[in-house]
């Protein structure tokens, strides 16, 4: 049984300019203890999808229009704010992109770190403090006692992300949602944080949803990948399979755009055009206007994600029909 089973998640933002269809019928699964990657450009809906699961989208204007998300027998999208609050930070934790702004500048690191334990486990300050010190050591911050009474602004970006990770994992959640956890960090620190996440995942046995635009990052740590575009899942596959043989023109174009696969001296490969405006309704495949293999059919009807072989699905008509 999957740990988290998201089905047809749809989140829209009702703004003055119109309805922004940020997430349109996204489905994915996470098995206990596994790491999946959700990959996509900025604006592809990957962050909104994960925030929707935890009820963290600003509402209004955001609204979850449809879908279910079964976690441990509870539908996260329908369970109500109180139940959701008891899950957040206890069973499902989240870390965010920018560690410089994600920590409260007005609170000592220790107070923030201990909070989930005090709220969810009812621990006393002293017990929580001991656990917080242990947790800091686990994420590679020595001298816990002194660092617990430090302020966030006294820490570097990498240190702050370590604190964020410690704070997210201090309650030993079953699932960690990591939203671009390394994007705001220096390249050298990025590798350290990824290794740390991978190590903690093994040690604590939790599942991880890694949200990123960085294909290099997912290739390194994820077992399965979901590729998102314009609020939809375009392709899902095991990591090796996806990199070896992409089964969606968008994935293929993404992989070609990786600078590492590129011959030195040649101009870098880019995907022509821009992602679609999510306010205007999209009739066909959202990628069709930029797709080199698109036919008439692609602009007329919207393809749905369909499994090709077990564990491998694509939302491309032409691949589904065996034309590509």
């Amino acid at each position: 049984m999957p740990l988290l089973d998201v089905h047809e998640l749809t989140t829209h933002f009702h703004t003055r300019e119109g309805v922004v269809r940020a997430v349109n019928g996204v489905s994915f699964r996470v098995e206990p203890g596994e790491t999946i990657g959700i990959v996509g450009e900025s604006g592809s809906g990957k962050t909104v999808a994960s925030l929707s699961l935890l009820g963290l989208i600003p509402a209004p204007p955001g609204r979850i229009e449809n879908g279910t998300a079964l976690f441990d027998g509870v539908d996260l999208l329908a369970c109500g704010p109180k139940t959701l609050r008891s899950i957040r930070g206890r069973a499902i934790s989240m870390i965010f992109q920018d560690p410089m702004t994600a920590l409260n500048p007005f609170m000592r690191v220790g107070d923030q770190l201990m909070e989930p334990l005090q709220v969810h486990r009812g621990l006393s300050r002293r017990e929580a403090r001991t656990r917080a010190e242990e947790m800091l050591r686990l994420v590679g911050i020595q001298d816990g006692a002194r660092n617990l009474s430090a302020w966030p602004h006294e820490f570097s970006g990498g240190m702050r992300q370590r604190v964020m990770i410690a704070m997210a994992l201090i309650t030993r959640p079953h699932l960690l949602i990591a939203d671009e956890p390394t994007t705001a960090l220096d390249v050298t620190i990025q590798a350290q944080i990824l290794e740390l996440l991978a190590r903690l995942q093994r040690e604590l046995g939790m599942a991880v949803i890694l949200i990123t635009h960085d294909l290099g990052v997912v290739a390194r740590v994820c077992r399965r990948i979901y590729v998102m575009y314009a609020g939809q899942v375009m392709e899902s596959a095991a990591t090796e399979a996806l990199f070896a043989q992409p089964r969606h023109p968008y994935t293929e174009a993404l992989l070609q755009s990786l600078p590492s696969t590129h011959v030195k001296g040649e101009p870098l490969h880019t995907i022509p055009g821009l992602p679609p405006d999510l306010i205007a309704p999209i009739a066909g495949c959202p990628f069709a206007p930029r797709c080199a293999s698109a036919t008439d059919r692609c602009t007329r009807g919207a393809p749905t994600l369909r499994e090709l072989v077990p564990g491998r699905a694509t939302a491309c008509f032409r691949v589904q029909d065996g034309e590509l």
Binding site: L56, I87, R88, L103, P105, F106, E115, V119, W151
Partner: protein, 305 residues
């Protein structure tokens, strides 16, 4: 920390010196003198009075003598009310204004913070527009209108509260409200703005992601940053509140410093004007220092700058 406070306190001296200088010459530029309005004063008496108060000396000499006296803690005699010195008058009247001001401050803080924070929690809904409309009204209605209106409604029509006076606890309710409401309105707007700003920050999302209750998110995570604009405003506001309001003191017949100050200006009571202005200035400087210390306490990032 202590060094910082001492440095700031020393910085008061030049500021007060500049204020004393400007006010000293400014009030002498104003037409009329302290004894013009006295009836039947013969030239001889006038000369004696001027000699007694050193008004016959050249202006620069008066100025330096005044500064010399102030440096020795002597604000001089009152021209208009010679029964007490200026220092004694301040010591006599200020406690009343201080008491009224503190009540007003309490009204301002309680009403203002409640309205502002409530409004910020659901922006652009009824619970936002409601308190903010009242806040706007509070800013727009001057206290010489609000005071009499309150008296009319609560004292004269309903008979719940005394019309004026400053003796019994119930005397103090209407003046405190009249004095506090405009400040409450500003505080409401400032705290709403501050809270909205903080509530949109990433770290609030982090707090929610930790599964904290909404009350804990607001009170423990947002409030400290959200009230920063209010704290900055409280410095000059507190100084203004406790030094007395001429209008409120007049409406309710309260023997405070505010009416003393305006009376002194009307009577060209030079030493009294200078004394109260310097007193007011010193309080503003002091409260601004307190505000800076409070802000450093509230925001750890400020402490290092």
């Amino acid at each position: 920390m202590l060094k910082y406070i001492i440095r700031r306190l020393l910085g008061f001296v030049p500021t007060l010196f500049v204020i004393a200088t400007i006010v000293f010459f400014l009030i002498r530029l104003a037409p009329g003198g302290p004894f013009d309005a006295d009836r039947n004063v013969s030239d001889e008496v006038l000369r004696n009075l001027e000699a007694y108060y050193r008004l016959d000396a050249p202006l620069h000499e008066q100025y330096f003598r005044y500064l010399w006296d102030v440096l020795h803690g002597d604000l001089g005699p009152s021209f208009e009310k010679p029964s007490r010195t200026v220092s004694e008058w301040i010591a006599y009247r200020f406690p009343v204004s201080l008491e009224l001001g503190l009540y007003g401050l309490a009204v301002a803080l309680v009403l203002g913070l409640c309205a502002g924070i409530t409004a910020s929690l659901r922006p652009n809904t009824l619970t936002d527009h409601g308190p903010m409309t009242f806040a706007m009204a509070g800013i727009c209605i001057p206290n010489f209108v609000l005071g009499p209106l309150l008296v009319l409604a609560l004292s004269i029509h309903l008979g719940w509260l005394p019309v004026s006076g400053w003796e019994y606890p119930e005397d103090k309710i209407l003046p405190a409200i009249t004095l506090g409401v405009p400040y409450a309105a500003y505080i409401a707007r400032l705290s709403r703005g501050g809270m909205l700003e903080v509530l949109s920050q990433d770290f609030i999302r982090t707090a929610r992601a930790k599964g904290l209750s909404e009350a804990r998110v607001v009170l423990r995570h947002a409030l400290r940053g959200g009230i920063q604009p209010v704290v900055a405003f409280l410095g000059p506001a507190t100084a203004g509140l406790i030094t007395g309001s001429f209008v409120v003191e007049n409406i309710f017949q309260i023997p405070g410093l505010g009416s003393e100050f305006v009376g002194a200006a009307l009577h060209r009571d030079y030493t009294m004007i200078l004394g109260t202005v310097l007193f007011f200035a010193a309080l503003i400087l002091l409260f601004n220092l307190l505000v800076d210390l409070a802000q450093a306490w509230l925001d750890p990032r400020v402490r290092y700058e």
